[in-house]
Every structure is written in structure tokens, then in C-alpha cells.
């Protein structure tokens, strides 16, 4: 046990301080802001244009669905803060996406490969670059400065969050708008293949999508919670077995304890790569388990959905999101709701 605790402490040398969450907002496949709407995989993707009008206030005719989802999700979050609070603040945008704008890449490349000569759309090409979405968002929000698009498959959101905390700790920015967005692009089987999902390396659930965002700040005033240390490590032993995951349980407990969260409820948010996840083991050890994935379906940045949703939910406590990559690399994000 001591060995595990030392290992956690070693890892924490490389991680960041708690960061106040000023606002949060999410969109799932049902496209109802901050709500778990009913949805069916075979009816996805739903048309997002009405929501764009409602949230953005004008149509985004030149943008594809991915860009629209990014902007809607981020604005749902940002609109919860009086705009005065962000005046003269240095704000960074950290957009994470596992697959990027497949929604516009696919039709473009299909046109390129048409035998009789297709007509690839220049607009689609320009939009297909992952950071085009961050550009649209920065324009809508009038944010100049640090804008980064991070992509690291299923650990994209956790990586962006870690980076945002690093930028804030360095004093480069005052606030960070950090989000994860991936969209459902048919077919579901292709989508699964794109994410390298198999029964032995992921949970068996429907495919989904989401655009989920945090606004992180420096001050505690008005905060709704804190993001505790984001832990990213290489995980030497391949995919962990959570049903017998004593080490993982202790690591999560240790992270919470080290940040003064020991008296609160401990709630695990299990990521989609935890193929052998057994809730009963955690419950027996005094944890609650909140399985958010049925609400958003599997998508590379589902962690963002799970954490943001937890932060806006009715309960309170210490939430720990745990996921890993097929290589065994792991990400643990702990958050405390105020």
C-alpha cells in the first residue's frame, strides 16, 4: 500500500493545483443544453441548426456540424457568466477533439475520389482543419490570445485540461475555456472502427456525441467547484481491470485525500475504455458510481461530458473520472463540486 501511495505522490509532482470552475455547460446527442435528453443511435446525428439559432443567435451557414456543436457547447457554458466578469481578462481556448471534423472531411474526400471528377468544396476543406472550429469560437466570443486544439484520441479532453491548468498556473491567462467535442458521423460501425472499439478494449454501449465545456478561472468567488489535479501517466501494464482494481481505487482515493476532499462523497465516473468495469467492487469500498455514458454514448471526448454533467448535477462530492487508452496510458481527473 505504501508503494502505491508513494507512486501517487511521485506522479503528483507533475500535476497541477486545483482550479476553480466558474461555469460549465454541455450538449449530448439529444441536443438539449445541460439536460439528459432521450436519444437513439440510429437516429443520430440530429439537426443542430435550430439550436445554433437559439444559442448563437444567427445561423452559421458556412460551418459544418462539428463547428456548430463546438460553438453551441462553449456558448452554453459562457453565457452563464456575466460578460462583465470576463472583460479585459486574458482568456485561452483549449478545444479538444479525438477525431476532429470528420463531419466535413468525409464529404470532401469523397468528392476528391469520385471517378468522374467531383467538386470538392473549398469551404469544407477550410473547415475540415481541426482548429477551424476554435477559430469560429474565438470569433464569436471575441477571444484573441492562446487558442489551442488538442487531439489525443480518448485522452484528448484530459490532455487539454492538463494543459489549460498549466497555462493558468504559469500566469499566461486569467481564464480558460476548456472543452471536448466529437460528433456522430455515420455509420456507427465506421465510427466504432475509427475509435478502435472492440469488446475486449471498451465498454459495450451506443455511439454518441457531445460538446461539453468548463470555464476555469483563478478566483473562488462564484465558483461552482474545482478541478483537482489532472493525472496523466503511461500505465505500464496495459488496460486496467477495474473489477479487481485495488490499486486504481487507492490512487483515486489518494488524489482526493491529498486535496482535502476526504470528507465528501466519492463518486467514480468510469470512462468507456474500462471494459471490465465492475461497479460493485467500488460500491463495496464506499464509493458511489455515476455511469454517465448512457446519457451521451461513446465518443472520444466523453470524459468532458461526464465531468461537466457531474458538476451541474444535483448532488455534491468528489468526482473522479477515470479512463485509459488502448496502450495503457491513463488519465484521472478529480473534481469537487462546491
Amino acid at each position: 500500500m505504501q508503494k502505491i501511495m508513494n507512486s501517487v505522490k511521485d506522479k503528483q509532482k507533475n500535476i497541477t493545483s486545483p482550479t476553480p470552475v466558474l461555469a460549465a455547460g454541455y450538449l449530448g446527442p439529444g441536443l438539449r443544453p445541460d439536460h439528459d435528453a432521450d436519444w437513439q443511435e440510429d437516429l443520430l446525428p440530429l439537426n443542430v441548426d435550430d439550436l445554433v439559432l437559439e444559442i448563437v443567435g444567427q445561423p452559421m451557414r458556412r460551418a459544418g456540424r462539428f463547428i456548430k456543436m463546438v460553438c453551441c457547447g462553449a456558448l452554453i457554458c459562457l453565457k452563464k457568466i456575466p460578460s462583465d466578469l470576463l472583460k479585459n481578462k486574458k482568456i485561452g481556448i483549449f478545444l479538444s477533439t479525438g477525431l476532429g471534423n470528420v463531419d466535413e472531411i468525409l464529404p470532401f474526400i469523397t468528392q476528391v475520389f469520385k471517378h468522374d471528377g467531383g467538386f470538392p468544396s473549398p469551404n469544407q476543406f477550410a473547415n475540415s482543419v481541426s482548429n477551424a472550429a476554435a477559430f469560429f469560437l474565438s470569433r464569436i466570443c471575441a477571444i484573441n490570445g492562446v487558442v489551442l486544439t488538442v487531439s489525443q484520441e480518448e485522452l484528448s479532453f484530459e490532455s487539454a485540461l492538463w494543459l489549460a491548468q498549466s497555462y493558468m498556473a504559469a500566469g499566461e491567462i486569467d481564464c480558460a475555456l476548456v472543452g471536448g467535442c466529437d460528433v456522430f458521423t455515420p455509420t456507427a460501425d465506421d465510427y466504432r472502427q475509427r475509435m478502435d472499439l472492440r469488446p475486449d478494449n471498451s465498454r459495450t454501449l451506443f455511439m454518441g456525441e457531445g460538446s461539453s465545456w468548463f470555464l476555469l478561472g483563478k478566483n473562488d468567488a462564484g465558483k461552482i467547484g474545482d478541478i483537482l489535479p489532472v493525472l496523466l501517466d503511461c500505465g505500464d501494464n496495459g488496460l486496467p481491470v477495474l473489477s479487481a482494481g485495488e490499486n486504481i481505487l487507492w490512487e483515486c482515493s489518494e488524489i482526493i485525500s491529498s486535496t482535502g476532499g476526504q470528507s465528501k462523497h466519492r463518486i467514480l465516473l468510469p470512462g468507456f475504455r474500462l471494459s471490465r468495469f465492475d461497479a460493485s467492487f467500488w460500491i463495496e469500498n464506499g464509493w458511489f458510481v455515476e455511469d454517465y455514458l448512457p446519457c451521451c454514448g461513446i465518443h472520444p471526448t466523453a470524459a468532458a461530458f461526464g465531468l461537466v454533467r457531474a458538476m451541474l448535477g444535483p448532488g455534491n462530492g468528489c468526482y473522479v473520472h477515470y479512463n485509459c487508452h488502448t496502450s495503457g496510458r491513463r488519465a484521472i481527473v478529480a473534481a469537487v463540486k462546491s
Binding site: N14, T97, G98, L99, G100, V102, I105, L106, F108, I109, T110, V112, F113, H115, P120, S121, P122, F125, A126, S128, V129, S130, N131, A132, A134, F135, S138, R139, A142, I143, N144, G145, V146, V147, L148, T149, V150, S151, Q152, E153, S156, W162, L163, S166, A169, A170, E172, T185, D190, Q193, R194, M195, D196, L232, D233, C234, D236, H325, S327, R329
Partner: protein
């Protein structure tokens, strides 16, 4: 003056000029630069688009992996990294296309091998830009944080600046920054659809310029805080390999900025360019007159060169040091440009030569200067690097040769 002391310990590159940064530099300095030509890679379906293609007789996917392998091998060897040092390193990758080449190659191979069958729809099976870093960490045993930036032309230049920031903070011990961009139908047709492609020649800062040409390339740059022992003069530590570099190279003033005025242009008045470079110089504490030369973005497109040229002139005026764009010689390697142009430049510096700019014939009066047309001595001092990409992204940094 920033307190940072970020040292570039090793680098490697594969470009159309050679399968190493060293070979690329030798050929660049010698002027053995071939114009972009029709592409031969089996996955490319249209030979009308001339590009800077790395010669390879095998399959496109094998070549893609070999490129990555080569740049990392060269950089690691130059840096003298031990297996333990590799393991504790962090990896930051800058790429736009990533391993999208897999989709294109599998599709074209399927069509080629089944001439009698109806052509299937192309599938998009690659796992996103992050797939490149996954391949690298598994292959090389890197255990530190791995992260990919997918930000068009500034992907790897942004990665270099982010890496420097994380090193300054002590968040990471060592960064291996990789830029990677294979030739893709997606990007060749994409830039053609935007009318930004010059089928004839890439002519950075030239009055006759009419667009960019894509160059296939990859590079790795290894950075760490403080000058490693092996890079110090008079290293007598027998357990460390001998220094591969003649000089010490320090990374300073890394600045990245996003401008939301235009998706495709940094503003042709040059104000933004001027401001970004000004921030870099201030951050590094390096005065304008100390800049030895400028490695410009210089894509050969009307707008980029106008905004960059005007910005440089606005800032430096008559005291403008030599300006060089490498894109007339190796093409625009998009997301890899930051790492590739840095690595090739450093190898040129090691040889004591700043290479000349290729593709230029006539001064554009709206820009008002010619990029350097002769090789010049690479003196010790500060070299400025600039990149301006899609989505209003700007990167700028200095490398100090000591």
C-alpha cells in the same frame, strides 16, 4: 528578460532534400534543390499537382512510418539520449493530416487490386491526429505525457512553444517535438480548391508569386531546460556520449497568438505580424538589431507574403536582416513546418551557413524587399522564426546560437 534556459539538444528531419536534417542542409547549402514535380506515391490520384515529394519506392504507409522513424532516430542520436532519458521524455506532436494517409492508401490499393469491381466509398478509419503520437510512444518507449496539436500550418511550431513553456514551468523534464505531414490527396485537392496552389513554382515574396506548393516532410526537435552536459564545451563525462552539436542552441521568446479577424489571412497590412514579432522580442529581451536573420513563413501565397513582408518591413525598416523562406526549396510542410524548418535551419547553422531563399525573381513593390539570394555566414546570435496559419494562428520564436 525571461529566465528560461531552454536548450535544443537534438533534431532530425526528412525532407525532399534528404533523409536527414544533415543531408537536407548539405543539399540546401549546395543549391541542389529540385523543383516540385508530379507525384509518384501510389496513393496520390492526380499527378497535376506538383509537390515536393520524398522519393521512395515502396508503399505509402511504409514510407510514412519510415519518415517518423528516421527523424526520431536522427534526433535521438544527435541528442545522445539514453533509453531511460527517452522513457522520461514527453512527446508533443504537430500534425494536420496525421495518419489520414492510411485511408487514402487503403482505398487506392483496394481499387488497384480489384479493377473489375465497383469502386467502394472511401472510409475514414484513422483514429484522428493523435494516432501519430500513439505510434511513436509505443515504438520508442516514451512514457511521459503525449499530446498532439492539430492546428494547420502552426501545429508543430505551436508545439515547440508549448513545450518550451512546460519546460520553463518545470512541468516536464524533456520534450520531443515532432512535426509530421505526409502528402495527401486531401490537402493537395484542398489547397487547389482554395485556389492557393501554384502548379508551376513556389515563389516566396516574389512579385510573380501565385501560391504555395506542398512539401512532404517530418522532423523531431528535442528540447530541455538547461544545457545538458553533453552539449557543454569541454565535456569530459565519459559516461555521456560526445556532443554531436558544435554549438549550443537556445529557444527563447516563444509566443503564440490567435487572431479572429480572418480564417485564412493574417491581415495584409502587416500590423498583426509586426505585433506578434514585437511580442517575441520583448519576451526574449532581445533587441531588434540583434537579429542575425529571419526564417520567415513565406508560403508564396499572395496574402501571406504580403502581410508578412509588410509586417517585417514595418518593424525592421532599412535594418531588415536577411529574410529566408525555405518553402521554395522544400515546399510547405503544413503542420510539420515548424519542426522541419527549425531542424533544417539548425543543421545549416551547424555548417556555419544560412541558406538562401529559392524561387524568387522579382521584387514586389508592395513588399519592398527581396529575400536573401545568397548563402551567408551563420554567425552566433538570435534567429527569428515566424509562422502564420489557418484560423488566425501565429507563432514566433527565437533560437540563439551560442
Amino acid at each position: 528578460m525571461t529566465k528560461s534556459n531552454i536548450c535544443i539538444r537534438g533534431w532530425g528531419a526528412v525532407t525532399t532534400l534528404g533523409w536527414s536534417a544533415e543531408e537536407s542542409a548539405v543539399n540546401l547549402i549546395a543549391g541542389r534543390v529540385h523543383p516540385a514535380a508530379a507525384c509518384l506515391s501510389p496513393h496520390l490520384i492526380n499527378s497535376n499537382y506538383r509537390a515536393f515529394e520524398i522519393p521512395y519506392s515502396g508503399g505509402s504507409l511504409d514510407k510514412a512510418r519510415l519518415m517518423l522513424n528516421s527523424v526520431l532516430d536522427e534526433a535521438i542520436k544527435r541528442a545522445g539520449l539514453t533509453a531511460a532519458e527517452i522513457a522520461e521524455s514527453c512527446l508533443l506532436v504537430g500534425t494536420t493530416g496525421g495518419l489520414f494517409i492510411r485511408n487514402e492508401y487503403e482505398f487506392t490499393e483496394t481499387v488497384r487490386c480489384n479493377p473489375q469491381k465497383e469502386t467502394p466509398a472511401i472510409a475514414c478509419r484513422n483514429r484522428g491526429p493523435g494516432e501519430v503520437s500513439d505510434w511513436i510512444v509505443r515504438k520508442f518507449g516514451i512514457k511521459g505525457i503525449a499530446m498532439t496539436f492539430s492546428m494547420a500550418c502552426v501545429s508543430s511550431s505551436h508545439a515547440l512553444v508549448v513545450a518550451a513553456g512546460l519546460l520553463e514551468q518545470g512541468k516536464i523534464k524533456r520534450a520531443i517535438v515532432v512535426g509530421y505531414e505526409p502528402l495527401l490527396n486531401l490537402t493537395l485537392h484542398g489547397f487547389a480548391s482554395l485556389l492557393l496552389y501554384d502548379d508551376d513554382q513556389c515563389r516566396p515574396f516574389c512579385k510573380r508569386r501565385s501560391g504555395m506548393q506542398i512539401g512532404e516532410s517530418a522532423a523531431a526537435v528535442i528540447m530541455e531546460q538547461d544545457v545538458p552536459i553533453i552539449c557543454r564545451a569541454g565535456n569530459t563525462d565519459k559516461e555521456k556520449p560526445p556532443a554531436a552539436n558544435k554549438h549550443v542552441y537556445k529557444f527563447k521568446g516563444g509566443y503564440l497568438h490567435n487572431d479572429n479577424a480572418s480564417l485564412t489571412s493574417a491581415g495584409v497590412d502587416g500590423v498583426l505580424v509586426c505585433s506578434v514579432i514585437g511580442q517575441t522580442l520583448r519576451k526574449a529581451g532581445v533587441p531588434l538589431q540583434d537579429i542575425v536573420a529571419i526564417k520567415a513563413h513565406g508560403t508564396g501565397t499572395q496574402d501571406n507574403d504580403l502581410s508578412e513582408g509588410r509586417g517585417l518591413w514595418k518593424l525592421f525598416g532599412e535594418k531588415l536582416p536577411p529574410v529566408i523562406s525555405l518553402k521554395g526549396a522544400i515546399g510547405h510542410s503544413l503542420g510539420a513546418a515548424g519542426a522541419v524548418e527549425t531542424a533544417v535551419w539548425l543543421s545549416c547553422c551547424e555548417k556555419g551557413i544560412i541558406p538562401r531563399s529559392f524561387g524568387f525573381t522579382e521584387i514586389d513593390p508592395e513588399i519592398g524587399f527581396a529575400p536573401s539570394q545568397v548563402n551567408t555566414p551563420a554567425a552566433c546570435g538570435a534567429y527569428l522564426f515566424t509562422y502564420f496559419g489557418f484560423g488566425g494562428t501565429c507563432t514566433s520564436y527565437l533560437i540563439i546560437k551560442e
